[in-house]
């Protein structure tokens, strides 16, 4: 898994989304069932990642991914998405992410630096994209 990460890893990109890149809705994440105050909605972090698990559940879906840190160690991150019902109507499926998938993912990171974020977009291994990409 480490070698896969090394091959596919791209440089960590932290983008000041609102002013530089136009792909983030000005309104931030879709309304969650809870406060979204813990996320830094002004930043989009882009990472290469390997999917550990996709939780297709209410009230929100979660993508558990491994992301390599600056020391070359794998760290698990929890990326929260919208509700499965609305995501399904936007083209997501329970099989959109599978364990072992190598993906690129963008998310609003947590303000306190902890290893979680709110989903912005993803490019799957076959080139398809979900969300804002």
């Amino acid at each position: 898994m480490r070698s896969i990460l090394s091959r596919c890893r791209i440089a960590i990109t932290i983008v000041v989304a609102v002013s530089v890149i136009g792909f983030v809705p000005a309104s931030g994440p879709a309304m969650a069932h809870h406060s979204s105050a813990m996320f830094d909605k002004s930043l989009v972090r882009q990472e290469s990642a390997i999917v550990r698990e996709f939780q297709w559940t209410n009230p929100h879906v979660w993508i558990q991914v491994y992301i390599e840190n600056e020391s070359g160690e794998q760290e698990e991150w929890s990326i929260e998405g919208g509700g499965p019902n609305s995501l399904f109507r936007k083209g997501w499926r329970p099989s959109s992410f599978n364990a072992g998938d190598v993906i690129e993912i963008k998310f609003n990171p947590m303000l306190d630096g902890s290893r979680a974020g709110f989903f912005v977009g993803a490019r799957l291994a076959d080139g398809r994209t979900l969300g804002a990409w």
């Binding site: 406060s35 105050a37 939780q55 929100h60 019902n85 609305s86 399904f88 902890s114 979680a116």
Partner: protein, 268 residues
């Protein structure tokens, strides 16, 4: 006598069928047209694209001075993520009138004697009686999330009043911390516009919280034929518990708290 009974029953059924034919077609699946940031009253929100609960975002209903002060206090807490939305606990419904401003989808089921508003999010089920009954006697009502709704049809317009809503004790109108008292009542007119939107015109009276009636308009747009509605089971995998001080936390896949910074004091 038996023939007379059968005759009267058939007449009654024919009358109901005729009534049903005169009702508008609100079938299918709908979603809210405006207020994607969860704002209850899009017409008074500032800034116009503001999201409920974000710092500096508020609405301007005709609140009394006391309730304006309460709203400002709630706004300050919400801006610091210390005013939990009651529905974020995954235990209670959004209630009326907030249920007209929810994400996900809606169904509007009309029958001559009763109509239902069903929201996928929550879910919430609102029953509107149009069989001629009145609100219950005061001693036979108690505040509930959805309240008690009775009304009638004026042509293709559903007209109803809602009373006995639970108010600020257990509900908010949105995450900015906007609330009403349990003395509020709502008069609603719902009809289809020429553009094919379903329009809800609300006149909200509250002798405790409002200086004058508050007029709110919301619309719904129809989704493509064949759209399905699904379970919304909030407690299925809620990884965002809320602390006793109102902070929303995040759990990892194993149920451990991810947050590095956790407040352990009451926010002012």
């Amino acid at each position: 006598m038996r023939l007379l009974s059968i005759y009267l029953l058939l007449c009654c059924q024919c009358a109901i069928a005729a009534d049903a034919l005169s009702l508008p077609d609100w079938s299918g699946v709908w979603e809210r047209f405006e207020g994607n940031g969860g704002i209850f009253d899009p017409s008074t929100v500032e800034p116009k694209d503001g999201r409920a609960g974000s710092p500096g975002v508020r609405q301007y209903p005709p609140l009394t001075d006391v309730w304006e002060a309460r709203y400002k206090a709630n706004l300050a807490l919400a801006a610091k993520d210390r005013l939990p939305d009651p529905i974020s606990f995954c235990g209670t419904p959004a209630g009326f009138p907030r249920l007209l401003a929810l994400p996900d989808v809606y169904e509007f089921i009309v029958r001559p004697e009763q109509s239902w508003i069903i929201t996928e999010n929550g879910p919430n089920i609102m029953r509107i009686y149009t069989d001629g009954r009145d609100h219950p006697l005061p001693e036979e009502m108690w505040p509930t999330f959805t309240g008690d709704s009775v009304g009638h049809w004026e042509g293709q317009t559903l007209v109803f009043t809602t009373v006995s809503m639970i108010g600020e004790k257990k509900t908010v109108l949105d995450r900015s911390g906007l609330t009403l008292s349990d003395q509020a009542s709502v008069s609603t007119r719902m009809f289809m516009t020429e553009e094919g939107l379903l329009r809800a015109e609300l006149t909200i009276d509250d002798p405790v919280a409002l200086r004058e009636p508050w007029h709110v308009v919301r619309h719904f747009r129809k989704l493509p034929d064949g759209t399905r509605v699904y379970d919304y089971a909030c407690a299925e995998n809620n990884r965002n518990p809320i602390t006793e001080f109102g902070q929303t936390l995040t759990l990892d896949a194993d149920g451990n708290t991810i947050d590095i910074v956790i407040d352990n004091k009451q926010s002012n």
